[in-house]
């Protein structure tokens, strides 16, 4: 059962199939993003309370979702890398971190842009904002640790342990700051009964979320390809495939 998986996870195979897959993912993400932005910025009606300024939600919320999603992907693949020593899992974890940090930063920046007209302040020490900021620190810590250790494989394992420790901490941080202080609006989409957001605003949001996910998938594949090449630069298949001679 695991045979095809193992084959896919071997670096030369990964390099081949990711090279074919990534452009498609990127194109699909681009198309969806155009549809979502058109639906969100043109078709969707203005909000009855917030007017047109709510429209940043179509960037802000998918970015915030991605910031958590990418952390989970990073932690799970780091865990797989630590337990089963799968090289490709390490590569995925390492390649995810800068993307996750970027999504987190995007969510924080668009949140600040949204917060200024709504709350009258660029930044408030609110629960959601604070936990998102700490998530950014966790990403940066992971990247700093990975960058500080010379040997790539040791670095990936050490940083992976940190990612796993961070997983334990994320719900703790989330609830501690929530009980400490909150101003952020409640969830409008992820409620079990009917969402309290109008369908004409919901569908562009979901399309954008999917577009962000595909963008991440394409970007992480490209990053992982580079990382694989760098790690395996002395392997035979690299010079064979790229025609270089060493």
């Amino acid at each position: 059962m695991f045979e095809p998986l193992h084959r896919l996870a071997s670096p030369p195979h990964f390099y081949r199939w990711s090279g074919r897959l990534a452009p498609w993912l990127g194109a699909a993400s681009g198309v969806l993003m155009l549809i979502g932005l058109y639906g969100g910025l043109v078709l969707a009606p203005p909000d009855y309370q917030q007017g047109d300024s709510y429209r940043i939600i179509f960037i802000h919320v998918p970015a915030a979702w991605m910031s958590l999603f990418v952390y989970m992907v990073m932690a799970v693949s780091a865990g797989i890398g630590i337990v089963w020593r799968v090289k490709l899992a390490e590569v995925f974890a390492v390649s995810s971190a800068p993307l996750g940090a970027s999504f987190t930063f995007l969510a924080l920046a668009t949140g600040a842009l949204w917060g200024k007209p709504m709350w009258g302040a660029w930044w408030v020490w609110d629960a959601r904002l604070t936990s998102e900021l700490i998530l950014l620190f966790l990403y940066l810590g992971y990247m700093a640790l990975y960058a500080a250790i010379e040997d790539r494989r040791i670095a990936a394992r050490a940083a992976g342990i940190l990612a796993l420790v961070g997983v334990v901490n994320i719900p703790i941080i989330h609830y501690s700051v929530e009980w400490w202080n909150t101003l952020h609006q409640g969830p409008t989409v992820t409620k079990l009964d009917t969402p309290s957001i109008h369908p004409s605003m919901l569908w562009p949001l979901l399309v954008m979320a999917l577009a962000f996910k595909l963008f991440y998938a394409a970007a992480v594949l490209l990053r992982a390809r580079t990382e694989v090449l760098e790690r395996e630069r002395n392997a035979g298949w690299v010079s064979e495939m790229l025609g270089g001679t060493r």
Binding site: G141, I161, L162, N169, I172
Partner: protein
């Protein structure tokens, strides 16, 4: 090894060894404590000596200073043992590494956390904290500083193999310290306002239980990676 030693005795031996080592370097012992006192002293000078303001920010200031002092002393948990090779011997020992790590962390807390506990009420008085808050301050420090040592051990274990791990440790460890800071400061604040603080103390206790049960394993895994 001809003589079998059980893990409990290995734990105690490690604890006694680390305490003895700390006692032989008494001069260094005082440093984090002095740092703690000086940082707190800076706030009345830098912000304002006005009593009302000090009472309001006092709990947070003392806790942030405790966080920084704990971080400053973290390096000593594994550094010297790493430098002289003792750490590798511990990895090779038949006892679970997590237990040895726990012993080292316990020793670290006894020599750095407990002095903070003793000094804190005095600083609370200097920061004009109301009398009711002093008990809560000591209680939160008693529950919180072991968590700081435990989480800090993971950070140090991850960076012990690096030449300059100092700044990196703070980057790794401080985000993980935030829940402790939030619950502890809010407990002291609540106590100063005359509100019961059992809720926050339970949370700190839960964090301590979680850190006690998980951190030694994470630190042990990190040590194995760092020394590989």
């Amino acid at each position: 090894m001809s003589e079998q030693i059980d893990t409990g005795r290995a734990f105690l031996a490690m604890l006694r060894r680390d305490l003895t080592l700390a006692y032989r370097h008494r001069g260094e012992l005082a440093n984090p404590l002095l740092f703690f006192v000086i940082v707190v002293t800076l706030f009345p000078l830098g912000v304002s000596p006005e009593a009302g303001l000090l009472a309001r920010i006092g709990a947070g200031v003392i806790w942030v200073a405790a966080l920084l002092a704990a971080m400053l002393s973290l390096d000593s948990i594994f550094r010297s043992d790493f430098d002289d090779g003792a750490l590798e011997q511990m990895l090779l020992s038949p006892h679970p590494l997590s237990m040895l790590v726990l012993a080292k962390v316990a020793a670290h807390w006894l020599v750095t956390g407990v002095p903070l506990l003793v000094m804190a009420p005095l600083l609370g008085v200097l920061m004009r904290l109301p009398g009711e808050a002093l008990g809560a301050l000591v209680a939160t420090l008693a529950l919180g500083t072991p968590v700081l040592s435990l989480i800090g051990a993971i950070g140090v274990a991850l960076t012990v193999g690096l030449r300059r791990g100092g700044v990196l440790v703070s980057l790794l460890v401080l985000p993980l310290y935030i829940p402790v800071l939030i619950f502890a400061a809010s407990a002291v604040e609540a106590a100063a306002a005359g509100v019961p603080v059992t809720g926050q103390l339970y949370f700190l206790g839960a964090l301590l239980a979680l850190a006690l049960s998980l951190a030694p394993f994470a630190a042990a895994a990190a040590l194995r990676v760092s020394l590989s």
